[in-house]
């Protein structure tokens, strides 16, 4: 058992069995979160560093908490106040961190493929905390954990990914993962925010929110990434809400027990109506706790094992 790999860079390269193992391992990890003593000694003496070149609240905090609950020490590089501002290259920063004896590096970077690059130049394990528009594997894994916890399995589940697919690494990771696990994935958004040839990933493409939502089991609402929208890809935020916002009326088109997911942070009244975000169908708050459990599982599974088959008793 265990992930036989140094890094977790995306769901594209993980097998269904590996995804299953990560989700299974997160179940006992989640129990630890509800204990009075939220700490196990498993990663004692290990160091986990977060290296975030983009802003983040939950991913970074979630990784740091996960590492601490597993007994590891954490260190975080705040890029804004670091030597990066003096012009230090990405490679040099990475090597500096590595020479301090870090075992696992969590990277977030605006350039797609940066996690692969880092994994190649350091001996430490690398977990991708989001690279450009490519992948955000831990977000997709926690989304999948949430769906499985509520629904038991993925087979035949109709999962809608709604919004700005073009800029969304969350969407890509979810597509890789969910299709591998046997779910039916529907993507829907304005044509200008839909990447070309997305159907080649095995998803159904819709441009009308209503068509995609019909009979859906799960709706994963993406954040409209206002910081990446300078090219006039849609007229106004208000029009976006009118056509693609998840409103109570649109939610009624899905199955009555459909789950509503959102990776956060939410733009209330833009991609999601406040009534929907706060409805009983919404799993948004639970997703945060599940994220810690998933990250604990990954840190455990990436821990180095030996080669013998011996045990203790």
């Amino acid at each position: 058992m265990g992930l036989n790999r140094k890094d977790v860079l995306g769901l594209q390269e993980l097998t269904a069995e590996e995804i299953q193992l990560i989700l299974d391992t997160a179940v006992p990890m989640k129990d630890i979160l509800s204990r009075e003593i939220k700490k196990v000694p498993t990663l004692r003496g290990k160091v986990v560093a977060t290296l975030f070149y983009e802003p983040s609240t939950r991913t970074r905090m979630s990784f740091e908490l996960a590492a601490k609950y597993m007994g590891a020490d954490t260190m975080s590089l705040a890029v804004a106040t670091s030597s990066v501002q003096k012009g230090e290259s990405f490679r040099d920063t990475a090597q500096t961190i590595e020479s301090m004896g870090v075992d696992t590096v969590i990277l977030r970077h605006s350039v797609s493929g940066s996690a692969q690059y880092l994994a190649k130049i350091v001996k430490a394990s690398v977990i991708n905390g989001g690279d450009g528009t490519r992948e955000h594997p831990t977000q997709a894994l926690l989304d999948m954990f949430t769906i499985r916890e509520k629904r038991g399995s993925f087979a035949g589940m109709k999962v809608v990914i709604l919004g700005d697919i073009l800029h969304s690494r969350v969407a890509r990771s979810n597509i890789w993962g969910l299709t591998k696990m046997g779910a039916e994935v529907r993507v829907v958004g304005p044509p200008t925010l839909m990447p070309p040839e997305i159907d080649k990933l095995g998803v159904k493409v819709y441009y009308q929110a209503e068509d995609a939502l019909e009979g859906a089991d799960v709706i994963n609402v993406l954040r409209l990434q206002l910081e990446r929208q300078q090219k006039g890809l849609f007229p106004t935020v208000r029009e976006y809400h009118q056509l693609y916002g998840l409103t109570p009326a649109r939610l009624k088109l899905a199955r009555p027990d459909a789950l509503v997911l959102h990776p956060g942070p939410m733009n209330r009244g833009v991609e999601i109506a406040p009534e929907v975000a706060d409805s009983p169908q919404s799993t948004i708050v639970e997703q945060v706790a599940n994220g810690v459990a998933i990250r604990m599982a990954l840190l455990y599974l990436l821990m180095e094992g030996g080669s013998s088959s011996e045990g203790i008793s």
């Binding site: 058992m1 265990g2 094992g305 008793s313």
Partner: protein
Amino acid sequence: MVTKTKAEIMDEDRIRRTIIRIAHEVIERNRGVKDLVLVGIRRRGVPLAERIGRGIQEIEGERVPIGILDITLYRDDLTTIGPQPMVQQTKIPVDITGKTIVLVDDVLYTGRTVRAALDALMDLGRPKKILLAVLIDRGHRELPIRADFVGRNVPTSKREIVHVKLKEIDGEDRVIIEETNRLFNQPYN
């Protein structure tokens, strides 16, 4: 690794009688079943704890809470063993604070599993007392740990493996000793 079965040290009847005897001893030591909780260490400690619990129920007419302890996250050999063990859920149905816990495992050997189990329990609460019940004590302790209830003491060499087989997991009730051609730690099960 070459292994061959050397001897059968317990058969089905003997295991059954031994568990009944341990059930009696637990009740005697605890002067009844008040505040008693049986906690089986995954995997084979779990069916054993359930059987001791059924034995106690037959004798005293009362059900004792039974918990399952997964010690994987508390092991001291995680970076040296492979393949990496699967972490599973710990499920103890009651708050253990103030309770008398009887930890149950199949084989007591180096004592490292029990050390891990004690740490895991302490993180869940503050029991009044922890006792240890094992089906087989095979010696070779590496830590200052002893069992309070022992099914059978079996002197072994370090080249041997004691296999406790239980119907719930292995389809049969049997304890055998296997001989190997190298020094071997009791397999994690």
